[in-house]
């Protein structure tokens, strides 16, 4: 999860980072008493977790950023003026240390100019800032918590785990650093001779950093930690009071039907807590083979499963021993039963803070709810009279027969597209609900995490072919979740044969046996599983959290480790060539990193390193004890080596001052650089060597085409062909260097993220491979310039903020299992497919999604349900091995009409886009466009010939799919696929990369933006979110005819908002919302909405905030005036209109009709 900062004190990462500070030692007790209340109090509606984080970001990007910006200025003024700007590196040929700042060029290993004293102040300032920030953050991040003060800060997102300030992972050494003794080291450096040869120059490097210092020393900040903690706790407490959760309880996986909001809200969790020392035992027993992870990782998984069945016999449940457990779980020494008690904590209630009184009973109500959800039959705890289906009833219901006929009828209603013009629903389209019994629907996986293109799976491949729709899954497995049951258990129960994790859709044949829902084989229920920690009762395996939730997270034992969980390691690779300096990104990067340094997810073992490159590669020695950072330059780019092995990647805690020194001086160091070449390839190789012992994340900032050394690229774009409708060339990589490199990285658990800030062609098609196959992310800022392009700069800053603070998972693998008969045949996304269903993800981040295409190998006649399970095994940034399991269950149908009724048009669009991208790379862009159009034509004709029995003359499609032609037309007009309009090759390739990795919601907004009219927002249909009133203006079709000159319209394109203000827009709106007297006085580059006290302004801002709430990266707002040149960017999103070249929606429909008939 997110960053524990400096002893957990300071601002946690927004994404669920809330938990970090609260997971420290002292919290445990709270968690026990006030279990996951706050956590589960999360309003169910908000299963789209980004809500809080993003909100939080929104806030922080306003207030704190400006604060710190200000602060930075001070900082520069007061202290930095000393730092000289002349840094012209001396002309050594070989590796040599170069003065990174002022002093005469001959002095090697010169020191940075700053002295310690000036730093004292900023440090203090930082401290303060952290304090200021934390209240705001905790307010933001804990809106779901209950007012009970201790539980507020004490109930983290994943309540079970507590991260002790000195984590138990002994391997990585809880060495307390004695490095202070070696402070005067710098003296050695100054003795170096300028002309020293490579090897000679290196020696000092080796000498300086004694190997003993390599182990990341653990903080000795115990006391500060607690202070911080307390601080936050108190803030958390008040925050809770003030800020009830946002979101409405529309649906909830957990809520049982017999419960109504306002009455008692189920499952208050007990426990929580634990496992302070859990990992201590774990890593030690694992082998540390670095190579061959590939196969063994999986074997681990297998092994883990085996234990689950083997350890069962020894369990002797002792429910009451609960209290003794808080020390942690020692898998071997502790009775299994004891551990089981720990598992319950994630279970919270869905309450609202306002309902808090209902929680008074503590654990008692939990049994009630539990009982009411009994799948197998009556239980002693059942207080609610509601009879729950017994086994036989359940299986009868499984067939999906008890579905909701009305919905199906509505979904199948024939729609004549040529006649019906208002196709859009008034609110953004929701995922269709699978036609399952209400029981199963309730526990099914959230569509935001796991979505299938056909929510009714066709029985046979023949039926699927007949439907002419793609079958596939869209996954967003590492999404920030608001509620996630975390289970700590000795035995993770899995199917003995197919290794499926036990899930809500298995069948319990009797108390001791369960039938796997993927392979249909019968397994034993381990003894340990018989005890239900939630109800603290024995003999209710079907009520365990694993069986009650489609999304659970297990804390994995050492069986799931190949080596001790790796620490969080971050390497930043910065391009410092002339081009980069010119674009000016360095300063903003350094500022952003400095602000977010404390939010980097990690623990005390976290390591950070920096590497810069132009035609040479520069390393930075940040070993603690130095008075200032030292730059080591390697000029031999044909055979890059690491000048110093243990002082380049340094502990983030110990060398914090040095890191800050470096970040302050870095932007100025290269201002004089005249070096235009970029040796990206060699720098990457160096990064690989630096990182391969541990794995981790490499962030590459590149501003131009790599021109030197391995992996050099040539410009392949012909600018005159940008608008050509002919075949677009060069969508694939030009060399396999980056692909091979990425695979090497993937093998060493290194993820590479690429930030391309280029004003010219930089061959993203080749460069992107480095991230594509190492499970990284790609960011692209075309024409980035810090002065000339403020919009890109703002986006860069916002993206960076999210990027640096978002949660991370390391050394991850994901396996996607599906019911026997189904198989995966194509994968889309950034990862390396290691075997038929195993994805290797060196890094996993909460913002990337994946897609897979499925085929039906064997007929599913025998089964009424098809299940899919995605299990993501990863190491959290705190060094815990965790498994997140998502299970999706869908009905199997044998009628074509049922298949169409369950079709998910958005998911289909996304999958089609992914397929088209593959096609355009492997074949050609025009082929891909044809394929997209044919998909629409084929579907319409398939529907016409097979299902529609009405003799319509028009273009008839089922209502569920009525938007497909529109979406496909939108796809064709996307950057990735459009022809005829001038599109840079890099932008096109980037758009394709986005399609492969963006989560569905985000993608759909990019493909088909949401358009709202804002100047007359009314209270009609207002959404009540806690204390907020969010107006809900209706969605408008993307056509100029829906615009009017007297209105103001908001277009939500996913990562950017356009506020289009018409020429005759009423002055009240302009005055009340934009704070300008009239239309003429609105500036052309306005990019924020002032906070005014007027009703209209509040409504508009509430609406914007709400839109912003559930996305990870914060959006940029552009106010566009009707008559400006920016108009074109707005109008090109109006996909229903006819662009310069291309067809309007009507024309497209006519084309389809021609093709069909």
């Amino acid at each position: 999860m997110s960053a524990p900062v400096n002893g957990y004190g300071q601002t946690p990462a927004p994404n669920g980072g809330a938990s970090a500070p609260r997971q420290t030692g002292p919290v445990q007790t709270y968690t026990t008493t006030y279990p996951a209340v706050g956590y589960y109090g999360a309003p169910p509606q908000q299963r789209n977790n980004p809500t809080i984080p993003s909100h939080c970001m929104g806030m922080s990007s306003k207030a704190p950023v400006t604060n710190s910006g200000h602060h930075v200025n001070n900082y520069y003024q007061n202290h930095y003026h000393v730092a000289p700007t002349s840094s012209a590196p001396p002309p050594q040929r070989h590796a040599a240390a170069v003065p990174s700042s002022a002093p005469p060029p001959s002095a090697h290993y010169a020191q940075f100019q700053q002295q310690h004293p000036p730093y004292a102040t900023p440090r203090a300032y930082y401290g303060q800032m952290a304090y200021h920030a934390s209240p705001a953050q905790s307010q933001q991040q804990q809106p779901t918590l209950l007012p009970a003060p201790p539980s507020g800060p004490g109930a983290p997102l994943y309540p079970i785990i507590s991260y002790p300030s000195a984590p138990g992972t002994s391997q990585y050494g809880t060495l307390v650093s004695n490095q202070t003794a070696t402070t005067p080291r710098t003296i050695q450096y100054s003795n170096l001779q300028p002309g020293s040869t490579t090897t000679a120059a290196m020696h000092p490097g080796y000498n300086v950093a004694p190997s003993t210092q390599m182990a990341s020393a653990v903080n000795g900040q115990g006391s500060t930690t607690h202070q911080h903690y307390d601080h936050q706790a108190s803030y958390g407490g008040t925050a809770n009071g003030e800020r009830p959760p946002s979101g409405t309880p529309t649906t909830s996986v957990h809520s049982s039907p017999s419960h109504h909001q306002g009455t008692q809200f189920g499952y208050v969790a007990n426990s929580g807590t634990i496992s302070a020392s859990g990992p201590t035992a774990a890593p030690s027993s694992s082998s540390s083979e670095d190579d061959e992870d590939d196969d063994e990782e999986e074997e681990d998984e297998e092994a883990g499963g085996d234990t689950s069945s083997s350890t069962t016999g020894s369990a002797s449940p002792a429910p009451n021993s609960y209290d003794s457990l808080e020390e942690g779980n020692y898998p071997d020494s502790m009775p299994p039963s004891a551990n089981m008690t720990n598992q319950a904590s994630p279970y919270g209630s869905y309450g609202y803070p306002t309902m808090q009184p209902a929680y008074g009973g503590g654990p008692t109500p939990l049994t009630d709810t539990q009982a009411s959800r009994d799948l197998l039959g009556p239980s002693g705890y059942q207080q609610y009279p509601q009879p729950f289906p017994s086994l036989s009833q359940l299986s009868a219901a499984l067939g999906g027969l008890s579905g909701v006929p009305e919905l199906e009828v509505e979904a199948l209603r024939p729609v004549n597209l040529l006649q019906e013009r208002n196709l859009l629903p008034s609110k953004p389209l929701q995922a269709p609900e699978p036609n399952l019994s209400s029981e199963l629907k309730k526990v099914n996986c959230s569509p935001q995490t796991f979505r299938c293109t056909l929510t009714s799976i066709p029985q046979t491949q023949a039926l699927l072919n007949k439907a002419r729709l793609p079958l596939g899954l869209l996954l967003h497995p590492f999404r920030d979740l608001e509620q996630l049951p975390v289970i700590t258990s000795n035995t993770i129960v899995r199917c003995r044969y197919c290794r499926t994790y036990i899930n809500p859709f298995v069948t319990f044949l009797d108390q001791r046996r369960w039938k796997c829902n993927l392979c249909y084989r019968v397994n034993d229920v381990p003894d340990e599983f018989m005890y239900n920690p939630v109800t603290r009762s024995y003999g209710e395996p079907h009520k365990r959290p694993e069986v009650q939730n489609a999304t659970v997270e297990f804390i994995a034992s050492s069986d799931y480790m190949l080596r001790p969980p790796q620490p969080a390691v971050y390497l930043f690779m910065l391009d410092v060539s002339h081009n980069a300096v010119e674009s000016g990104y360095l300063k903003y990067f350094c500022e952003s990193l400095m602000e977010n340094l404390d939010k980097l997810p990690g623990d005390s073992r976290t390591k950070v390193g920096f590497l810069t490159f132009d035609s040479k590669v520069h390393f930075y020695n940040l070993q603690e004890g130095l008075s200032q950072p030292q730059m080591l330059v390697v000029t031999d780019i044909d055979d890059v080596f690491i000048p110093s092995h243990d002082s380049l990647m340094v502990s983030w805690k110990e060398s914090k001052e040095l890191i800050k020194d470096l970040l302050t001086s870095l932007p100025a160091m290269f201002t004089q650089s005249r070096e235009t070449h970029s040796a990206l390839g060699p720098a990457l190789q160096a990064a690989f060597k630096l990182m391969s012992p541990t794995g981790g994340r490499v962030s590459v900032f590149q501003t131009q085409l790599p021109t030197l050394g391995a992996g050099l690229l040539q410009s392949r774009e012909d600018p005159s062909q940008r608008a050509s409708a002919k075949a677009v060339q060069h969508l694939g990589p030009a060399t396999d260097f980056y692909k091979k490199f990425a695979l090497d990285c993937s093998g060493q658990q290194i993820g590479v993220d690429l930030f391309l800030l280029s004003s010219q062609y930089a061959d993203l098609a080749s460069l992107a491979c480095v991230s594509k196959y190492s499970a990284g992310s790609i960011f692209y800022y075309p024409s980035f310039h810090h002065i000339h392009n403020p919009a890109q700069l703002e986006k860069f800053q916002k993206d960076l903020e999210r990027y640096l603070s978002r949660k991370m998972g390391f050394e991850a693998v994901m396996r996607i299992r599906c019911t026997k008969g189904l198989s995966i045949h194509t994968f889309h996304g950034n990862f390396f497919v290691r075997s038929t269903d195993l994805l290797s993800l060196a890094n996993v981040n909460p913002d990337s999604a994946f897609a897979v295409q499925m085929s039906i190998d064997d007929s599913l006649v025998d089964s009424s349900l098809a299940c899919f399970q995605a299990a993501l095994l990863y190491t959290s940034s705190k060094g815990k091995r965790r498994i997140r399991v998502h299970t999706l269950c869908l009905p199997v149908v044998n009628q074509l009409s049922d298949v169409y009724a369950g079709a998910d048009v958005q998911a289909i669009t996304c999958l089609l886009a992914n397929m088209a991208i593959d096609r355009s790379v492997s074949s050609s862009l025009s082929d891909a466009r044809d394929a997209l159009m044919n998909a629409a034509v084929d579907f319409v004709s398939a529907y016409k010939s097979n299902v529609s029995n009405l003799q319509h003359s028009g273009l008839v499609v089922p209502a569920a799919m009525r938007l497909l032609p529109l979406y496909i037309l939108s796809l064709l007009k996307q950057r990735a696929f459009r022809t005829g309009m001038s599109t840079r090759l890099d932008e096109r390739v980037f758009a394709m990369c986005e399609f492969k990795t963006q989560p569905l919601q985000q993608l759909m907004r990019m493909v088909h933006p949401d358009l709202y009219r804002l100047d007359n927002v009314s209270d009609q249909g207002t959404l009540h979110l806690n204390d907020r009133l969010v107006p809900q203006p209706p969605l408008l079709h993307l056509s100029a005819e829906r615009l009017s000159r007297d209105g103001a319209f908001l277009m939500d394109c996913g990562s950017v908002f356009y506020l289009w203000v018409g020429k005759c827009c009423n002055e009240m709106f302009i005055r009340d919302v934009l704070e300008y007297p009239n239309y003429a006085s609105i500036p052309t580059n306005m990019s924020c909405i002032p906070e005014l006290k007027t009703l209209l302004s509040e409504r508009v801002r509430a609406f914007l905030d709400w839109l912003q709430d559930n996305r990870a990266f914060s959006c940029i707002l552009h106010v566009i005036k009707d008559d400006t040149s920016a108009n074109a960017t707005f109008f090109q999103h109006l996909v229903e209109d006819r662009p310069e070249s291309g067809s309007s929606y009507c024309e497209f429909l006519q084309y389809i009709q021609q093709q069909v008939s």
Binding site: D295, P733, C769, F827, F832, V833, R834, S835
Partner: protein, 139 residues
């Protein structure tokens, strides 16, 4: 002379049979998850060129020794091998690309191809054997 050509072709054919079997085994290892895609592809890519050379060699031998029928039998296979090798996109790591082998049923088609080749080479083997014996008797 004729016998020598036949013996050479026979040896060549044996090598090709072994290669085909090796391809099948390695691919099925990948299918069963005993080996990871990276290792599998680097193993197989090593043998793509030798396979191509062997195939071309036997084609040329048949051409030289004027066995027209066998030459025509060999020609399409040799052409396919060359075509396959030449058509690899620049960014790929060879005929077998670890990042794509699991996509779009490539694994299955590679497997099918190896199977067909195995059958074909077996057929060739007996033809060569027959012609060798014939040539030896004629001598």
């Amino acid at each position: 002379m004729d016998a020598a050509v036949c013996i050479l072709s026979l040896i060549d054919c044996c090598a090709l049979i072994f290669l085909a079997v090796y391809f099948i085994i390695t691919l099925s290892d990948l299918e069963c998850d005993y080996i990871n895609a990276r290792a599998c592809c680097s193993k197989l890519n090593k043998w793509v060129i030798p396979e191509m050379v062997c195939q071309c060699l036997s084609t040329v031998l048949m051409l030289v020794s004027t066995h027209w029928f066998i030459f025509l039998l060999n020609l399409p296979v040799a052409a396919w091998d060359i075509y396959r090798y030449v058509m690899v996109p620049v960014g790929n790591m060879g005929v077998f690309d670890p990042t794509e082998i699991h996509n779009r049923g490539q694994l299955k088609s590679h497997m099918k191809e190896a199977m067909i080749k195995l059958g074909y080479h077996l057929l060739c083997f007996f033809i060569y054997l027959y012609s060798m014996i014939l040539a030896l008797i004629n001598d």
